[in-house]
């Protein structure tokens, strides 16, 4: 149970916190918007989760040094280099910290590259970008990397919730000082939006459809006027956006709200739908790469062997599709069974193996965590898993020891 808590809270950190805390993320932005932390990689080893532009500073720098195309106004890289940064597959020679180095550009986002191309082009156009899709399809992940590559800052973020207000989007005041000194520009507390506008950077707006319509309307004026008016100040100045300013929003298609973006806002966004990863090989690559990255971050020595990885992704795919490879129809669980959940499951299993086992992830560890990620609050999902174990797992178990171990463990876990 303890392991569970750890991973859940790390996975969700920064997405579930209160709106106030979210607005607080601008701290780095305020200081470093025009001077992003490109040298930061080594200095803050204590941070649990580094922003992409820090974690991949070398790759971004290598791309900059190898740039052969022109970048749009305020962009750090050309669209093509941004694409390379996201889809990887190249090794570049660059001078990093004074040394000539070969830098491998790793793949960040797996799946259909046209999705990434369309997203990048949208950000270079007049329109804002909305990434929509099922939860756990990598929308926030892609948004973060796009922001990191395009403006070197992925931290200008607003987390949409029912409690998000217009102030979170535009600006607020340092009330104490306003009482003492009255309204002055120095007493204005800018929002991430305003910071992004001033520096021609990208604003990330997570879960935008959770905001109430009034708040969404505040964004309409930002997007159409490219300016924020401050009527409290004597001259009613307008804070203008520098070229390059744009918005990447994300929305969850499971939220009923997606289609409820107001017509005015809808028009200003290009929607890019992120599908659930289509083929198993790609999904395995994502789970493998992300799990090992995450394990490294926790300094975990655990290993997930390929057959176990295969097992894990197979279970997730089959349950998600409601059909086994052999064509047996299955009851689909209410949970999304997303790739992100699979990663979480692998990581949980690894933690468990590390602290309670010999460091090798076994099918049984997967089984234990499956009951955690599939079942969650829902007893109906428990039935799905039980059905799956009986109809699909048992048969495979007769031939394949990996499946047998999974089924045996599932049986135990489900009985509890």
């Amino acid at each position: 149970m303890a392991t569970k808590k750890t991973s859940k809270s790390t996975k969700k950190s920064g997405t579930k916190a209160s709106p106030d805390a979210e607005v607080g993320t601008e701290q780095e932005a305020g200081a470093g918007a025009s001077e992003p932390a490109s040298e930061g990689a080594s200095s803050d080893g204590e941070v649990l989760r580094q922003p992409a532009e820090v974690a991949h500073a070398d790759q971004l720098e290598a791309l900059r040094q190898n740039e052969s195309d022109t970048a749009p106004a305020s962009w750090w890289l050309s669209p093509r280099s941004v694409l390379t940064y996201i889809v990887g597959g190249k090794t570049l020679t660059a001078t990093i910290r004074g040394k000539q180095t070969e830098v491998e550009i790793t793949r960040k986002f797996f799946g259909d590259d046209t999705v990434v191309e369309r997203a990048i082009v949208t950000l270079a156009s007049e329109r804002a970008l909305l990434l929509v899709g099922e939860p756990g399809t990598g929308k926030s992940w892609l948004s973060e990397h796009l922001a990191a590559a395009i403006c070197g800052n992925s931290c200008l973020t607003i987390q949409g919730t029912a409690g998000t207000t217009e102030e979170h989007i535009k600006y607020s005041w340092n009330v104490a000082r306003v009482i003492a000194e009255g309204y002055t520009l120095a007493n204005l507390v800018p929002s991430p939006t305003m910071n992004a506008m001033r520096s021609g950077a990208l604003l990330r707006f997570e879960e935008i459809t959770r905001c109430v319509p009034d708040v969404q309307d505040a964004l309409v004026s930002v997007l159409s006027d490219k300016a924020i008016a401050v009527p409290e100040l004597p001259s009613s100045p307008l804070i203008w956006a520098k070229p390059g300013f744009n918005v990447i929003a994300t929305a969850n298609s499971r939220d009923q709200g997606v289609n409820e973006l107001s017509a005015a806002l809808k028009r200003r966004f290009n929607y890019v739908h992120i599908p659930i990863i289509g083929d198993q090989r790609t999904e395995q690559s994502v789970v493998r790469q992300r799990t090992s990255e995450l394990m490294q971050r926790y300094g975990l020595q655990a290993k997930v062997a390929p057959p176990v990885l295969d097992l894990l992704t197979t279970v997730f795919r089959e349950l998600r599709q409601g059909k086994s490879k052999e064509g047996i129809g299955l009851k689909q669980p209410g949970t999304t069974m997303s790739t992100a959940e699979a990663i979480g499951c692998a990581l949980d299993a690894a933690l468990h193996a590390r602290y309670f086992g010999d460091g090798t992830v076994r099918p049984a560890d997967i089984a234990r965590n499956l009951t955690g990620s599939v079942v969650k609050e829902d007893l109906g999902d428990l039935a799905s898993l039980r059905e799956y174990a009986t109809l699909v797992g048992k048969k495979r178990g007769a031939k394949d020891p990996v499946w047998k171990e999974l089924c045996d463990a599932l049986e135990v876990a489900l009985r509890q």
Binding site: R118, V121, N259, N270, Y271
Partner: protein
């Protein structure tokens, strides 16, 4: 990925590019002047036309079916408007290939094969022909006739398995194909292309082609363009396994082309430099020293003509390399360039067309969207390493800018609009000067006389409602029935609309490229549609000789087709078949057809008394044949039941001809007594109830009888109930209470195991019920089980489900009761 990849620097390719270039240059410089093409490419069309106009050759030889060279003048006729197709069909009448009965259903049916060679307004072949005509060059086609590729049947040697008939035709199953440009398949599969695609991120061959050759291609120097294309094809050929090339029709065709080129030159005493050759790019690199001879076409009947074709079909064929993924889009590209417009104009116009189609479907698309799409497409194209966007970029941009969500859900209208704008619905026209077979001429004359031409302008459904009391509609109806009968796929009759009245019909018509060839095929039967239909009817009647069902059905066909003479021959044709046919099912069909014929009688000038006599005779013989069905095998039960119901309907229905109900009832009774099938017994008893010979109580008694009988008999009770409900309508309404009670008794008496055995039949039985019957049954079931408030039963469920639910509730209650009793007693 996405960086522009130079063809000469495709990574990881074991190819010496400069050696390849040198080799290609040799071929380019040698006579005859060879121009490599991609079929249906507008940019290639532009350059091949320019090359011919510049060189002014004496002779232009084109990769087209050599057996159709005589049609070239008609292809160039101003009254021929592409898309059209050269249609070539072969029939092995003398069975020289020995395939009759091997590759065909019977030895009487000769093997056939046919091929379409589609041509669009911007096909390079067509443009080459037009240019040749302009400069006064002679023209000929040089491709191998398709039937030369048919392999004769080789009887299997002793221990050899029978060879599969796959080698029969260069085509698909039906022996009909669109000219397969296998060579493009080779290019796509070559190592060169595969590596190029991987390096450049091309997702389809079309995308690759458009980016490499269509975009910006028109502005290039013709000779540079030709050289690049030749190198592209040469690189593909150099990295294709020779065994693969040898495995299809490539080599025989190339041998033929080579021989034809030499023949044409020597016949006209021309130097090679005076000729231009236009073929698929892959063939340009053929082996000029190949010593083998091409195959000879077998003798037989060859029909070659030009038929209208459509964009829709061309698009359908894309992926087979004979098609074109977006005929209307490339047409627009061609037209825009002819007008002197640039690529931007093309993009804007195409996007606007999509928007127009989309708005027709109710999508809210603004001109702001159109601007966003155009801008997005250009940027996407640039990101993907091209100077201008290709269709893939435009379509991705449309999805990005106009589809607000998952394209598979909210984007369906938009995608349909994109498809329509890209494909188009244009249909071509063929000059009347093409020597037309008489039957084709008759067909076209009728189409225009009957004002059906409009329906065939576009490749889409056209619904036609006819009232046969109107003279024009009567003639249309007859014509359409004749075409249907001849298997000419012009239209289909809506079966629902026929049932109500014999005057009204609803037809759905649609143009199809198989119409003309089908008419051509029928020319063996007659010179007009009417005479061909009459000839086929005679043939079919001869086959139907001893079948009452088939014969009367043909007569009904004849009436619908308004074939003359049948009114007078009715008796002579049908009488003997009825008298000779002992089979109940066939006679029952005969009776149904005759009753329809009777309804046509007044209207078609038939003699009522003759029809009435036939009806009575057929009815009598059908009744006498009923004992046969007492012992039909289970797989024929379905037909038998349909037949019985048809006869019962005849007896119970209202007609001028009076039928003796008792006769039928007597035979049904005796069959019911004889049959050993519980299902058939149910059916027969049910019929008797419908005929009011027995009532619901008797049926109920029959069911309860089984409930009180042995367990083995009880198992069959489900089948009995299924049989009864299969045919009972009125009797059920009247006797529902008794029947429900009996079924209930049966269920109470049966053990759980027996119940499970009966369950499938019972469910099938109840699912048969419809409408009012269902209501009555539900009502009775509800009352029976104490559910007085009938409304509480959801009537949208099938009564099967309702009855079962009630049953299961009941059972559970019983079990619980028993359990509780046992429980309290046990204490």
């Amino acid at each position: 990925m996405s960086d522009r990849v130079e063809l000469s620097r495709v990574p990881g390719l074991p190819l010496d590019w400069s050696a390849l270039q040198a080799r290609v240059q040799q071929v380019l410089d040698a006579g005859p002047y060879w121009f490599p093409v991609r079929h249906h490419s507008p940019t290639v069309a532009l350059h091949v036309g320019a090359a011919i106009r510049a060189r002014r050759p004496r002779l232009v030889l084109i990769e087209g079916p050599s057996e159709a060279s005589h049609l070239i003048a008609h292809l160039l006729d101003r009254k021929t408007r592409p898309p059209v197709a050269i249609y070539s069909s072969y029939r092995d009448d003398a069975n020289v290939l020995g395939l009759a009965g091997v590759a065909t259903p019977s030895p009487d049916v000769p093997v056939r094969s046919s091929v379409w060679y589609p041509l669009l307004p911007y096909s390079p072949e067509l443009e080459a022909m037009l240019a040749a005509q302009e400069v006064g060059a002679e023209l000929a086609f040089i491709d191998l006739p398709h039937h030369a590729l048919m392999k004769p049947h080789r009887p299997p040697e002793n221990d050899e398995p029978e060879p599969r008939v796959e080698a029969v035709a260069p085509s698909e199953s039906a022996g009909e194909a669109t000219h397969e440009r296998g060579s493009e398949g080779h290019i796509e599969r070559s190592e060169f292309y595969q590596r190029l695609a991987a390096a450049a991120g091309f997702r389809t061959f079309d995308e690759a082609w458009d980016g490499l050759f269509e975009v910006g291609g028109q502005a290039r120097d013709t000779e540079d363009f030709r050289r690049d294309m030749a190198c592209f094809c040469a690189a593909a050929r150099a990295t294709t396994d020779p065994a693969r090339i040898a495995s299809d029709d490539t080599l025989p065709r190339e041998r033929f082309m080579l021989r034809e080129i030499r023949r044409h030159l020597s016949e006209r005493e021309l130097a090679p430099e005076q000729a231009v050759v236009v073929t698929g790019g892959f063939h340009m690199l053929l082996d000029r020293d190949d010593p083998e001879l091409p195959p000879e076409p077998p003798p037989g009947t060859l029909n070659t003509t030009i038929v209208p074709y459509s964009y829709y079909r061309v698009a359908e064929r894309s992926g087979y390399a004979a098609g074109n993924r977006a005929p209307a889009f490339y047409q627009l590209q061609w037209d825009t360039r002819q007008r002197g417009g640039d690529h931007q104009d093309l993009v804007i116009e195409h996007v606007t067309r999509v928007m127009r189609q989309g708005r027709k479907k109710g999508s809210a698309l603004s001109s702001a969207d159109a601007i966003a799409v155009t801008q997005h497409a250009s940027m996407l194209g640039r990101l993907r390493g091209r100077s201008e966007p290709v269709l893939d970029d435009i379509e991705d941009a449309l999805i990005t800018c106009c589809c607000k969500g998952d394209p598979a859900e909210v984007g369906q209208d938009l995608q349909a609009a994109m498809r329509e704008a890209a494909v188009g619905s244009r249909v071509g026209k063929v000059t009347r000067a093409v020597g037309m077979l008489p039957i084709v001429a008759d067909f076209q004359a009728q189409i225009s006389d009957l004002e059906l031409g409009e329906a065939l302008q576009r490749d889409r459904n056209f619904v036609l409602s006819l009232d046969r009391k109107q003279p024009l509609d009567a003639r249309r109806s007859a014509f359409l029935h004749r075409l249907c009968y001849l298997g000419v796929p012009l239209g289909s009759l809506d079966p629902e609309a026929v049932r109500g009245t014999i005057h009204r019909e609803t037809w759905t018509l649609r143009w199809s490229p198989s119409i003309d060839p089908a008419v051509v095929e029928r020319s063996a039967l007659g010179d007009t549609i009417e005479s061909a239909a009459a000839a086929k009817l005679e043939e079919d009647l001869a086959h139907a000789q001893l079948s009452a069902g088939a014969t009367t059905a043909r007569v009904l066909d004849a009436l619908r087709m308004e074939l003359p003479d049948f009114a007078t021959r009715l008796h002579d044709v049908c009488g003997p078949a009825i008298d000779a046919d002992p089979r109940f099912v066939s006679l029952a069909h005969g009776l149904t057809s005759l009753l329809v014929i009777d309804r046509h009688a007044a209207f078609r000038g038939l003699r009522r008394d003759v029809v009435a006599d036939l009806v009575v005779r057929c009815y009598g013989r059908a009744s006498f044949a009923i004992p046969d069905i007492a012992s039909v095998p289970p797989e024929e039960e379905r037909e038998a039941v349909d037949g019985l119901q048809a006869v019962a309907e005849a007896v119970l229905g209202e007609h001028e001809v009076a039928l003796d109900r008792d006769l039928f009832a007597a035979y049904v009774s005796s069959a019911a007594a004889q049959t050993s099938s519980m299902f058939m017994r149910g059916v027969l008893l049910g019929l008797l109830a419908e005929l009011r010979v027995i009532d619901g109580a008797v049926l109920a008694a029959e069911i309860s009888g089984l409930a009180r009988g042995a367990e083995t008999a009880m198992v069959a009770a489900g089948d009995l109930v299924r049989g009864i409900l299969e045919v009972s309508r009125a009797s059920l309404m009247l006797g529902a209470d008794a029947i429900v009670e009996a079924i209930d008794e049966l269920l109470r008496a049966s053990s759980w195991e027996i119940f499970l055995v009966m369950l499938p039949s019972l469910r099938a039985a109840f699912e048969k019920l419809r409408g009012a019957d269902l209501g009555v049954m539900c009502d009775r079931v509800a009352v029976r089980y104490g559910l007085r408030e009938v409304e509480e039963l959801d009537l949208s469920l099938t009564v099967g489900a309702a009855a079962l639910m009630a049953e299961v509730d009941q059972r559970v209650a019983q079990i619980m009761e028993g359990f509780m009793q046992g429980f309290s007693e046990g204490r």
